[in-house]
């Protein structure tokens, strides 16, 4: 019984990162990379991959050592752990994906100051068992990946008419150059957030109606 409880809890922690507490759209964390490197889909994917590696790695390590870290210096400890993972992925990317690394430039090193990662260490990994911490990290990383990829795809389609370098819009489509420039990042992210809020409000309305109907039926049942 205890094992299934643990598993379902882990699954819940995983799912909340994807949708209900999506780090980018809902909590508005980790915005800098979400905007800076999403001018093409490929960049967005590489960035998500790097962030996932760092988040899962440091969540695991922090959660394993959570009892050994003194409370007063925990933030510094978190940062050093995160920085180590960032340096690792920085050099790995440089070795295996040289051009993507060049495109992303300083933003790989800047993963270290992604508030999403430090936030998860402080709010979750330092207080929970490694299993839960990993599922939480995977969920958050998943939400982050979805958000980045969505933004990247929208910006690349509108800005260049392509996805991952393959043309999806006809040649006659005049690319909106602004979408791959900085303002496009803000505008796309803003529009996606509105969309996200709209879907959420629809869901809430549906749930309310269901609850109302259930209450009605219960009342009828009593009356009958």
């Amino acid at each position: 019984m205890a094992a299934t409880d643990e598993t379902s809890r882990a699954y819940r922690e995983f799912r909340k990162g994807i949708w209900k507490e999506n780090p980018v759209f809902v909590a508005a964390l980790g915005l800098c990379p979400a905007l800076a490197v999403t001018n093409t889909t490929l960049n967005a994917l590489v960035m998500s991959l790097a962030t996932t590696f760092v988040l899962v790695g440091s969540s695991t390590l922090i959660s394993l050592t959570r009892k050994a870290i003194p409370k007063q210096v925990r933030i510094s400890c978190f940062i050093i752990v995160i920085a180590t993972f960032v340096t690792t992925i920085d050099y790995v990317l440089k070795a295996f994906m040289y051009y993507a690394h060049k495109d992303l430039g300083a933003f790989i090193a800047l993963i270290v100051v992604n508030c999403l990662i430090l936030g998860r260490q402080e709010a979750f990994a330092s207080k929970n068992t490694p299993g839960l911490a990993i599922s939480d990290a995977l969920g958050m990383a998943g939400g982050f990946t979805i958000a980045l990829t969505l933004t990247g795809v929208v910006r690349e389609i509108l800005g260049m008419g392509t996805v991952l370098g393959m043309r999806v819009l006809p040649e006659s489509f005049e690319p909106w150059a602004i979408m791959i420039l900085p303002p496009g990042g803000f505008l796309t992210m803003g529009s996606l957030m509105v969309l996200f809020a709209y879907i959420k409000s629809l869901q809430d309305k549906k749930r309310e109606q269901l609850e109302l109907r259930a209450a009605d039926e219960a009342a009828e049942g009593r009356a009958g």
Binding site: C32, A83, V113, P182, F186, M189, G190, M193
Partner: protein
């Protein structure tokens, strides 16, 4: 030489504004801009920390990282984090109201990409000590400018009838998109001189 300082300053402040064209330091940009005076003070803290960060970056680059370049990320972040902690202690002691007003965002300056970004950009551009300082002030003032403009706009828009769906972060993004477009206009500022 004089002109190049001017160029570095305005380039960091307006043309390549850290917040609006490099997307650095967005968390405080959206988090602490409900009120004008808080935003302004956060901007000042930013300038202060950036100044120290650029000096630290120069020091580390000259004496440490020449021998161990793979330590760059760790070194920068540790030195900057301790600096911020120091600022925090000084602030808590000398300006308690300010400390309360900035709340959670003071420790988060540590994880402010604008500050680490500054250190990395200074390194990549190969700036010396003075150039680094000018760059830091330009960037800091640029960030403060963005924070203050944003806070002013938000104070106004809070009083308007914005649809519920768009209210909050989404609208802040759309506003900053427009601001970012406006700042793109500065791109031609130095085209003739360099």
């Amino acid at each position: 030489m004089q002109e190049s300082f001017v160029y570095i300053f305005f380039s960091a402040c307006l043309i390549n504004n850290f917040t609006l064209s490099y997307f650095l330091g967005l968390c405080p940009f959206f988090g602490v801009t409900q009120r004008l005076d808080t935003a302004f003070r956060l901007g000042l803290a930013d300038i202060f920390v950036m100044t120290i960060a650029s000096m630290a970056a120069w020091f580390l680059n000259t004496f440490v990282l020449k021998y161990a370049p793979y330590l760059q990320t760790i070194c920068f972040i540790v030195v900057i984090a301790s600096t911020v902690q120091f600022v925090e202690m000084v602030m808590k002691k000398l300006f308690p109201p300010l400390f309360r007003a900035l709340g959670i965002f003071l420790p988060l300056i540590t994880t402010n990409c604008a500050i680490l970004g500054l250190a990395i950009f200074t390194t990549n551009k190969g700036y010396g000590f003075l150039e680094g300082l000018v760059y830091a002030w330009g960037a800091g003032i640029g960030v403060t400018l963005a924070l203050v403009i944003m806070a002013g706009l938000r104070e106004e828009s809070d009083l308007q009838g914005v649809p519920k769906l768009v209210r909050g972060t989404a609208m802040n993004f759309l506003i900053s998109g427009v601001l970012s477009m406006a700042f793109m206009g500065f791109a031609g500022l130095f085209s003739s001189t360099g």
